[in-house]
Amino acid sequence: MTLFERLAVALRADEPVALASRLDGPNAGAKLLVDRHGSAGDLGSPGLNYAVAAEARALLEVGRTETRTFGTDGQPIGDDARIFIQSFAPQPDMYIFGAIDFSRAMARMGKYLGYRVTVADARPIFATKARVPDADQIVVAWPDEFLQSARVDARTVVIVLTHDVKFDIPLLQVALRTDAGFIGAMGSRGTHANRIRALREAGITEAQLGRISAPIGLDIGAQTPEETAVSIAAEIIAVRTGRKGGRLRDGSLPVHPQPDEAAGAVR
């Protein structure tokens, strides 16, 4: 199997894989592939292969793609070898709670952005493929119980569309115990004020409350489920990149995030 074939297998299976390319010297273009089976390829020296494989695993953990420099034999200090390490982390998860009309549009938007989308609702008559055709997975379960056992990391997006206190409060309590990168909850300002009160009574700190994006979405005047999904998607991206989310013509930052701009961000 060639390196390309091995890469293709991992990508198709949505398994973590990293590809390192040497950018300079007589070995420019040389490759090292790192997947769950180990590593393959040659960047020029065994020491370099070893060091880059370790670095690739670390980058893969956080889904980052970076250029790193090493000494000839992989010494951490040195700039003899410039290596571009591309991470292919598994699709991040988007968990949507509540199978309502907004969920259908949100699930489609989540797929469009590259998320693995799961919709969970406690009501079997609503949690159906017909209602949310784009979801990868539809789960009939109590939201908090489902999230407790779900895979969550810093790239995970949690969207609470249930706006029913009986579901929302236990669910948000569980969500705030995870390191999910985005936790948003739908509902009016009044609904959210009630939620905040209930969460405070449950012992949630102000810092934790600050992690909740509610009312969810950017202020674009969205009305329809589709427009609302655009507004939520834009907020998810803005939170990830640390941007405010206004109109570009009113801002002064470069249009695209800078290489070091997102470095301090969680993901």
């Binding site: 198709r12 490759k31 980052r64 793609t65 250029t67 292919f88």
Partner: protein, 113 residues
């Protein structure tokens, strides 16, 4: 498959690459490996070219694709990889400047690995 910057990288053109290789086409891959200041696409963005001249994917917002296309044809013929820089701050800017004012570094190589 999302990189931290939202680029899907080679997975975006995987179907096409596999089809071309199945047809016995030689293929060049151009990958954005670095970005300075503001650029339309981030590290990992790829454009693939085959020896017939078909193209898949992109490395910018359409600003430098024609220049990369020529580099790619060259890589297919020679088998030699190159690191190419495009950007407004370079001399070649007049010809291939990015509309956004950034600089991108692109690794162009024959896909023979």
């Amino acid at each position: 498959m999302l990189a931290q910057n939202g680029e899907r990288g080679i997975s975006e053109v995987l179907d096409t690459l596999e089809r071309w290789r199945g047809e016995g086409q030689r293929v060049a891959l151009a990958t954005v490996v670095g970005v300075e200041r503001s650029a339309p696409r981030g590290p990992g963005a790829v454009m693939a070219v085959n020896e017939r001249g078909d193209v898949a994917g992109s490395v910018s917002g359409g600003c430098v694709e024609s220049a990369v296309y020529i580099e790619a044809q060259d890589a297919i013929a020679s088998g030699r990889g190159r690191l190419v820089t495009y950007g407004i701050s370079e001399d070649q800017a007049l010809e291939h400047g990015l509309t956004c004012g950034g600089t991108i570094h692109v690794l162009v190589e024959r896909l023979d690995w």
